[in-house]
């Protein structure tokens, strides 16, 4: 009979090994899924995990890697801080949209003026937009005790409708021949978030993602606030006795993750995407939740996890093109990864023993 014994402290070995084991298990299960769809499993896995990095046309894909990883890492860094404290912002997708709308609104209002101040103002607007959208659940949580999980999630649907309204209404390009969607910011030099090194995929959003990794690392490991966040998550009662204000933590965690999601959306709309359209958002806000957990809520882990998840996006596109693998297969694949991760996480907190072997 199998029997679980709680460890006194989390196992260091398994903390690092669980993500690796989970990725391997997902590859196996994914191979099964692809085979069930009638696609060659080995080839599909090679296309997803190998070809974008080292395959024949890898130069093109490597640039895409940073483009996709940037927003995922930015959003996940903010979410991880909250998750550490037991504050569940699952509405990052909405904050991402509102950040993009705010950034684009600044650019569209100033068009066609040219000034080096426009882009920084857009970054600020994006951060503020995301922050403000996240402060709605934060305020309702601290003032009325309303679940931040449900409110932040509901606001995703509100943001999506707002996005569609903007794309068809106020932000529609007046010279767009009646097509929905805003002016293309890629054709507006002062607002364009261009590649910093041609062909590398490196744009300001990726730089911001790296800064977010370093910043949240310093916050969590060197700053008193980071310590308080960890205590609040692991021992809420102890935190309260130590004088940590739950309301302040909620405002800080939701505000930070909202602002980061907001700038991620702004960098996306001003760069790779270029336009506000009703299908502008690409589920980064939800995938970032998986990235945060895969990175073990640790900024450096998130950096690696974001790159890996970006790889599955690009490889998924490639497999879609070459093998006709449905786009949704990758979404299911990513969900599966989170399942395996959570399931294997048992090993960091518990020892598995055979009953009777030792007492």
């Amino acid at each position: 009979m199998i029997h679980l014994e709680r460890r006194r402290a989390a196992s260091r070995f398994w903390t690092l090994a669980v993500p690796v084991v989970a990725v391997l298990a997902t590859m196996l299960a994914g191979a099964g899924l692809f085979a069930a769809l009638g696609k060659p499993p080995a080839e599909a896995l090679r296309m997803i995990f190998w070809d974008p990095l080292l395959g024949p046309n890898a130069e093109y894909f490597r640039g895409q890697l940073l483009v996709k990883a940037g927003p995922l890492i930015l959003i996940a860094c903010g979410l991880a801080v909250g998750f550490r404290a037991g504050i569940w912002n699952i509405g990052a997708e909405g904050q991402y949209i509102v950040g993009a709308l705010s950034g684009a609104a600044v650019a569209l209002a100033l068009w066609p003026a040219e000034s080096p101040l426009i882009f920084p103002t857009m970054v600020l607007a994006g951060a503020l937009g995301g922050w403000a959208w996240a402060m709605i659940p934060a305020f309702l949580k601290t003032r009325f005790g309303t679940s931040e999980i449900l409110v932040s999630l509901m606001l995703v649907y509100v943001a999506q409708n707002l996005l569609a309204y903007m794309a068809f209404g106020p932000m529609k390009n007046p010279q767009g021949f009646g097509f929905p969607g805003s002016r293309n910011l890629q054709q507006y030099p002062s607002a364009h978030n261009a590649e910093l090194i041609a062909g590398s995929g490196l744009h300001w959003g990726v730089v911001a993602a790296l800064l977010a990794v370093i910043g949240t690392h310093l916050l969590m490991s060197r700053h008193l606030l980071g310590f308080r966040i960890r205590v609040a998550g692991e021992a809420p009662r102890a935190a309260r006795f130590a004088g940590v204000s739950p309301a302040r933590l909620i405002r800080f965690c939701l505000g930070l993750s909202g602002a980061l999601a907001g700038v991620a959306g702004m960098f996306e709309v001003a760069g790779p995407s270029g336009q506000i359209t009703d299908s502008f958002n690409a589920n980064y806000g939800f995938t970032a939740i998986i990235v945060a957990f895969l990175g073990r809520l640790n900024p450096w882990g998130i950096l690696a996890a974001g790159l890996l998840m970006a790889l599955t996006y690009i490889g998924g596109d490639l497999a879609q093109l070459m093998l006709g693998l449905p786009a949704a297969a990758i979404q299911a694949f990513q969900g599966m990864l989170l399942f395996f991760l959570l399931a294997f996480d048992l090993l960091t907190q518990y020892r598995i023993r055979w009953k009777g072997a030792r007492t």
């Binding site: 709680r6 999630l153 606001l155 409708n161 309204y165 939740i289 299911a332 399942f339 399931a343």
Partner: protein, 310 residues
Amino acid sequence: MTLGGIDLIALTATLMVSSTPVLLAALGELVVEKSGVLNLGVEGMMIMGAIGGFAAAVMTGSPAVGFAAGALAGMGMALLFGVITQILLANQVATGLALTLFGLGLSALFGKGFEGIRPPQTARIDFGGLADLPVLGPILFSHDWVVYFSLFAVGAVGLFLSRSRAGLILRAVGENHDAAHALGYRVVAVRLAALAFGGAMAGLGGAYLSLVRVPQWTEGMTAGAGWIALAIVVFAGWRAGGVLLGAYLFGGVTALQLRLQAAEYAIPVQLLSMAPYLITIIVLVAISALHARGRQAAPAALGRSFHASR
């Protein structure tokens, strides 16, 4: 009877149909949460029920088979959640999110090839002359069996939780799992059973969405209905009667919003589509403001993992 270009009787009749998916899912989640488990994967279970039910109904030509398949699909998802949270002791919030993300992806995968098809029609129950009654006829006697089943389920779940011995055990497990365990009740088994019921109800609700309410399969068609079901359980103060009220309130807003779109008021469609979500937030705020002053109605062990040391 019309008001501002909107037929109130037709509105009430549609309200009952548009409420049924969330009503079923919320009743299932009520039982789950009463057992002390927070399953945030309702959306994932509903959408799997939607595609499972749709596919089965189209392939067999029988809506009844479709509803059964939808319930089974939801139950399968719930048991996956159960194994990971109850046996492997994973965090329930994170696992619930995973269930939703996984369900949305997997359903889109299965749904390829089912887009743009009309499902076999679910027949209305024939009440003979009763359906011709003014006002009451179209509201009460013009629906299919699932609508009546959902109303029956409200009473059944309410009585089960408050009046039966099994319901008492389930609530004990949800309030204090250590004490229930010490009394000899099998906490994990009770919770798995509750999860299976919750999954079946969510799946049934999802199948109703794709087979009757819309009726069609489109990717991501639940559009947050699962999350609204979760909100309704909170709104209801964890009581079956409250779930009915909450679901009909939500269904009413949805139906009204759709009628307003059709009535061509000068309000942009996208802004009207926000209404159900905004109303849900407002109602949640109102109810949490009330609970802050009164007693907290949530089951005491909600969301906590149970691990028997011996």
